[in-house]
């Protein structure tokens, strides 16, 4: 059914994400399929976590990748990794949808459990597993009030002013907790050897 969509082995697998985007900007479907295989499942997992609905999450991912296809030529490599671009767009579109639908939920992150294999290769699956473990461990080390403002904002789509109301603290407190939490998160990830701006690209590691 998708003959012609399935990438042949070899032509694009060695490319960095920036290289894939460059080809996508020239209308290369194989490169596009490869980029989807790399980040589509992660984007879907994020969207599903935020919107809590399989169909809406699928719509988010479809919209994101359509925007990748049409926006690839405008992507400025200086703005960072394509993966950050993709996940940021996914986050924004999912949060927009949650806010529109008022579907937001307040659960904190699910506990780690048995998780299905993901990623196109075993190396990438392994990398994802390590990344997940590290990010979760870094989050777990934050003081509860700090972790709370990050999780409620990022995963539940609350704005900072809504958080101030909900948590019954001044908005300045929400902002200062957010600042402290993000700084601590960065340090904890660095201690685990992860530097997001450099390393969220699976294709060049």
């Amino acid at each position: 059914m998708d003959s012609g969509n399935t990438p042949r082995e070899g032509r694009v697998e060695h490319l960095s994400d920036h290289g894939l985007l460059a080809l996508i900007g020239r209308g290369d479907r194989e490169a596009f399929a490869r980029l989807y295989d790399l980040y589509g499942p992660a984007a879907y997992a994020l969207a599903a976590r935020i919107v809590r609905d399989r169909d809406l999450a699928a719509d988010v991912v479809q919209n994101v990748f359509l925007a990748v296809w049409t926006g690839a030529t405008q992507f400025d490599p200086a703005r960072g990794q394509p993966s950050t671009w993709i996940m940021t767009m996914t986050h924004h579109k999912a949060v927009d949808m949650v806010r529109r639908e008022q579907r937001r939920r307040t659960e904190v992150l699910d506990a780690a459990g048995d998780e299905p294999a993901e990623g196109p290769t075993v190396e990438e699956q392994a990398w994802r597993g390590v990344t997940r473990t590290n990010v979760r461990a870094a989050l777990a080390r934050l003081p509860d009030p700090h972790r709370e403002v990050i999780e409620l904002a990022y995963f539940a789509g609350y704005s900072q002013s809504e958080l101030a109301d909900r948590l019954a603290v001044p908005i300045g407190t929400v902002k200062s907790r957010t600042f402290a939490a993000m700084r601590a998160l960065r340090e904890a990830l660095a201690a685990a050897g992860m530097h997001p701006e450099d390393e969220w690209n699976t294709s060049t590691s």
């Binding site: 059914m1 998708d2 969509n5 479907r29 596009f32 399929a33 589509g40 499942p41 992660a42 984007a43 879907y44 997992a45 994020l46 976590r49 399989r54 169909d55 809406l56 699928a58 719509d59 991912v61 479809q62 919209n63 990748f65 359509l66 296809w69 703005r79 990794q81 950050t84 996940m87 940021t88 986050h91 529109r100 639908e101 992150l109 699910d110 459990g113 998780e115 299905p116 993901e118 994802r128 990344t131 997940r132 990010v135 979760r136 990050i150 904002a153 990022y154 995963f155 789509g157 704005s159 900072q160 902002k175 957010t178 600042f179 993000m182 998160l185 990830l189 997001p196 701006e197 969220w200």
Partner: protein
């Protein structure tokens, strides 16, 4: 110039007020230092995405994503083939391109064209117009069906309500086949993903976002082609 350090992390988490967002956007457009900080904070925030449990995407999502970038419309008027894949959903979320189409009727000049503008597909649209059957589509527009069954809809419709989508259908007897999703919001030219043949009905319903496999609401417009 006042830096926006205290807003950077809120922006990276997409949690600012619209006014604050605008303030950040205006500032980082001119300030290298804050722009770099925002990029770093966005990368850090994006790392949170990888903390969520892996969940397998729907099996058809990859096909949908790849089909969504495909401007080539199914042209084979093969009902059997269409029947074999009733679940294939294709949608064209706005791939906006303002195109002047001088040969087209005045009512549709200068439109945002959803589905026909990329890859030179407009030539086939002209073919439709010169050789097709035209049918009135309720009070929202009209449908042109070419001899190979390809149907192009010209309509003016408000944006679908939040959380909803418009869905087009080809109805043959009692069977309704999904023929594309769209959001509306202005005038549009849209080629249906399923071929029709004389005697079929083309109908538009409002469905939950993502579309459905069968209509769940009364059509807001229909046409007999």
């Amino acid at each position: 110039m006042e830096h926006v350090d205290e807003l950077i992390h809120g922006q990276a988490l997409y949690a600012l007020s619209p006014e604050e967002e605008e303030q950040v956007a205006l500032h980082v457009a001119e300030c290298d230092r804050c722009r770099r900080q925002l990029r770093e904070a966005e990368a850090l925030a994006a790392s949170l995405a990888y903390a969520v449990p892996a969940v397998a995407p729907p099996p058809d999502l990859r096909d949908r994503v790849l089909a969504a970038i495909d401007p080539v419309v199914e042209t084979a008027p093969a009902p059997a083939a269409a029947a074999r894949r009733p679940a294939a959903r294709r949608s064209w979320w706005p791939r906006l391109a303002a195109v002047a189409v001088p040969a087209m009727a005045a009512a549709v000049i200068g439109l945002a064209v959803w589905n026909v503008s990329l890859r030179g597909d407009l030539s086939s649209l002209h073919g439709n117009l010169s050789s097709g059957r035209v049918a009135r589509l309720g009070n929202v527009g009209s449908v042109v069906m070419s001899s190979d069954g390809r149907s192009t809809m010209f309509a003016s419709m408000p944006a679908a309500p939040a959380g909803k989508t418009y869905e087009a259908w080809v109805i043959r007897g009692q069977a309704a086949v999904p023929a594309g999703l769209f959001r509306g919001g202005g005038t549009l030219v849209l080629t249906l993903t399923k071929p029709a043949r004389p005697g079929d009905e083309i109908a538009i319903t409002i469905e939950p976002a993502g579309g459905t496999k069968q209509p769940t609401t009364t059509p807001i417009a229909h046409a007999s082609v």
